[in-house]
Symmetry: C2
Subunit: 118 residues, 2 copies
C-alpha cells in the first residue's frame, strides 16, 4: 500500500512562545486526561513521567482564568483528574484551530514537500 503524504502538524502556541505557553504537548495531555480520568495514566500513555505531566497541568491551570483540569486525591480509587468545562472549551477551540490551519495551508504544504530532499 502506498503511504499517504505526511500531514502538516501545525504547532500553534499561545499566547507566546516558550515552555509555559499552551501548545500541542499540553493539548495532547488534556486529551489523554479526558480519556483516562487520571494524570498518572495519561502520563504513562504519553511516555512521560508523572512529574512532568503534573508540572504541565499546573502551568495550564495557572495560565487561564479558570483551571482546565480538576483533580482529587484520596478515596477508594486513590483519586483522579478530569477536564473542567473550561478545559473542554480550550481543548475544543485548540483542536479546531489545528484543523483550520491544516486546511488553509494544505496546498502550500504540499508544494513545500516536493522541494524537500528524500
Amino acid at each position: 500500500m502506498p503511504r499517504s503524504a505526511p500531514e502538516l502538524q501545525p504547532r500553534l502556541r499561545f499566547p507566546h512562545a516558550g515552555p509555559d505557553a499552551f501548545g500541542p504537548g499540553k493539548a495532547e495531555l488534556l486529551r489523554h486526561i479526558a480519556a483516562t480520568g487520571s494524570i498518572a495514566e495519561a502520563a504513562a500513555e504519553l511516555g512521560m513521567s508523572y512529574n512532568r505531566a503534573w508540572t504541565l497541568v499546573r502551568a495550564m491551570n495557572a495560565l487561564f482564568r479558570e483551571p482546565l483540569v480538576a483533580s482529587a486525591r484520596g478515596g477508594g480509587t486513590g483519586g483522579g483528574a478530569a477536564l473542567t468545562p473550561a478545559g473542554e472549551k480550550v481543548l475544543g477551540l485548540y483542536t479546531r484551530m489545528e484543523a483550520s490551519c491544516r486546511a488553509a495551508t494544505r496546498a502550500d504544504w504540499n508544494a513545500l514537500l516536493r522541494l524537500l530532499r528524500g
Copy 2:
C-alpha cells in the same frame, strides 16, 4: 491608544518536529540573510552567534533538494551570502502559510485569548 490584540504567531514546522526541521527560526534567518547579504550580519541582527546561524544554514541546505542559501568567501568584501531561487521560493511559501493560518484561526484565537488570565 488601545493596544491591539496580540497576533497569533503560528509556529509551523516541517516535515517533522525537532531541531533539524524548518520552522519560524530558520525562516527569520532567511529573511535577514536576504536583507543583509551576509550570514554574519544577519546573525548579529538576530542576536545569535555566527556559529549558530551557519549551523542553521547548513541544516537548511541539507534539508532541501537544492540549497536555499548561496555563500561565497574571500574577495574584496570578504564574502557574502544570498538566497537562491529555491530559497526565495521556500521563504515565500512559508510566509504565505503563516498568513493563511493566522487568517483561518483568527476567530478561535480571539476566543481563546479571552479565556486567558491577565
